[in-house]
């Protein structure tokens, strides 16, 4: 994909410290629906984890618990050794105030399936909003950084456009730049290419691959098996709220141990 500039050390990998993620015995219910049934997962700093699984298996919910968009019913999530959404004191977990949760989220980037760009703001304002309001960066500085990020995702000329004027692939690249603007140590992607026309998938995956190479910790929910094979350090297969198996892509994708994994792979491949 020619439209994406490759990692340029100046504009590229910022001085981000990458984070590890530890998920312990996480359960989540939606009313009678037991969506997460005891999830344990470790993601080492700088690694790329791809989560696969049938629709409704709880992948999005798991991803959303990691930045506390969804509260867990039991279990813990910690990012870089810090509990997400709670403070531990002795045997008690104190819920954090919203303000503190918001602060924690600035360390975690989230990219949505449907982009969720702010439609009334220009591309540049979309990217600059969080650094200015959440991190109190001077606007000038944030804008300069945003322009570099736009260059990095191949959209340097779109800074003044509104999201509606861009293609789906371009919008998702802006959304990625917006998440990167906070220089997060962890990036979460929830099916970042599922809402895109097939010919636009490549440009977004290329940006994500570029990021993976720069060493940011990433958890990516996707159905793009080729991408998983190429980029993932670990592939996790989920079904019915549980992690069925996990391991290096060669193992999970080419010689899955579980029948359910095999059945799923035979459908998406």
């Amino acid at each position: 994909m020619s439209s994406v500039t490759t990692a340029d050390p100046a504009a590229g990998s910022t001085a981000t410290t990458t984070a590890k993620v530890e998920i312990r015995a996480v359960h989540k219910n939606f009313g009678p629906l037991h969506v997460l049934r005891g999830i344990d997962l470790d993601v080492r700093a700088g690694e790329v984890t791809v989560v696969l699984g049938p629709s409704g298996s709880g992948k999005s919910t798991l991803l959303r618990t990691i930045n506390h968009l969804e509260k867990v019913d039991s279990g813990t999530v910690s990012v870089d050794g810090t509990l997400v959404g709670y403070r531990r004191s002795g045997n008690k977990l104190y819920e954090l105030r919203e303000r503190d949760v918001l602060k924690q989220r600035t360390r975690i980037g989230f990219v949505f399936q449907n982009f969720h760009l702010f439609p009334h703001l220009t591309v540049l304002d979309n990217i600059v909003e969080a650094p200015v309001s959440a991190l109190k960066r001077p606007r000038k500085e944030a804008e300069a950084a945003a322009r570099k990020l736009l260059e990095r995702v191949g959209l340097a000329d779109k800074a003044e456009s509104y999201p509606k004027q861009l293609s789906g692939g371009q919008q998702q690249r802006v959304a990625i730049a917006r998440a990167l603007a906070l220089e997060p140590g962890l990036l979460l992607f929830d099916e970042p290419t599922s809402a895109l026309d097939p010919e636009l998938v490549g440009e977004v995956l290329d940006v994500i691959k570029d990021l993976a190479a720069s060493g940011t910790t990433m958890i990516v929910v996707t159905h793009e098996i080729g991408f998983a094979r190429e980029v993932a350090d670990t592939v996790v297969f989920m079904d019915e709220g549980r992690i069925v198996e996990q391991g290096p892509p060669a193992e999970v994708l080419d010689s899955p141990r579980h029948e359910r994994t095999r059945a799923f792979l035979s459908k998406v491949l």
Binding site: M1, L117, L121, A130, S133, P163, K164, G202
Partner: protein, 301 residues
């Protein structure tokens, strides 16, 4: 199974001439005959005749007394009354929407108590006819003059202890605003609910502070659906101020009644009021157009 990034070459599809089954004649040889609409012409003619008769009547019927209309349209009494009407509208709207925004967020809050209070308020003030409410406040204005302090609706209304007219104006504004607030609350709530939930999630995932989320992300987008309804409300409040005439406040409608009570020229004076209402409503509509255009930034429609 990731897709290759080069889509199948398409140019063969774009140059289609020559591939058609039968070659149609060149466009220049074809003449388009539009469909005729004889009944539409009959309707136009009939409407035009009626319209002409109406205008003719307006101009020639001496009953309209256009000379009286012209004489009173810009007299000082009327202009001052217009000013009072505008003030009632402005203060009623400003206060009404301020309370309305608070009520809207109360109804959207996670606290059942705040939700119920807001719901109860909206229920009550939508149920009571404005005129009943105004008379109630009008009478209460006298009460407050004696009580002067300890009002349940906030410190800004402590000015009740002043002389008669101020008290009546305040009572009128208060009545209009409290009534307006109930409707404004629902309009604002509707606007906020119309904003895609994903917007709030995106803002939350970016760690944008709560108030900033509301001000910078939610409200500007909510404005798109709030504005047309809000404009409706402002215009109807503007005309609704005429109801305040029951409280003997010198707004436009009351003043016109006073004048024709004195000189008996009912029709032309009603036309004076009508003309002012139409004129100012038109001005409001123009303002609405520009404000809406401002908030349409970045949208396709």
């Amino acid at each position: 199974m990731s897709l290759t990034s080069d889509p199948p070459a398409a140019p063969s599809l774009t140059k289609e001439p020559g591939t058609a089954v039968t070659t149609p004649p060149a466009p220049a040889e074809l003449v388009v005959v539009p469909v005729r609409h004889p009944w539409r012409w009959v309707a136009v003619a009939a409407t035009a005749v009626l319209l002409t008769q109406f205008v003719h009547g307006l101009v020639t019927n001496p009953g309209w007394e256009w000379d009286v209309f012209a004489a009173f349209f810009t007299t000082e009494t009327i202009l001052r009354a217009v000013w009072v009407t505008l003030q009632l509208t402005f203060h009623g709207t400003a206060l009404g929407f301020a309370i309305g925004i608070v009520l809207a967020f109360m109804r959207l809050s996670a606290s059942p108590f705040l939700r119920s209070v807001a719901f109860g308020y909206i229920w009550a003030f939508r149920s009571i006819p404005l005129i009943v409410q105004l008379l109630f406040w009008f009478n209460l204005a006298y009460l407050y003059k004696e009580l002067s302090i300890g009002i349940p609706f906030g410190p800004s209304f402590l000015s009740f202890d002043t002389t008669g007219l101020v008290g009546e104006m305040s009572a009128a504004v208060l009545g209009l605003a409290l009534h307006q607030a109930a409707y404004a609350a629902e309009i604002v709530r509707g606007g906020v609910l119309a904003v895609d939930e994903g917007q709030l999630e995106a803002a939350a995932s970016l760690g944008i502070p709560r108030l900033r989320q509301v001000r910078r992300i939610v409200l500007p987008q909510a404005m798109r659906s709030i504005l047309p309804n809000a404009a409706n409300e402002i215009i109807s409040l503007f005309k609704g101020t005429s109801i305040v005439s029951v409280m003997a406040i010198g707004e436009l409608f009351y003043q016109v009644q006073v004048v024709y009570g004195r000189n008996g020229r009912v029709v032309p004076l009603l036309m004076v009021a009508t003309a002012w209402y139409v004129l100012l409503t038109t001005a409001l509509s123009v303002v609405q157009h520009y404000v809406e255009r401002h908030y349409a930034k970045g949208s396709a429609r």
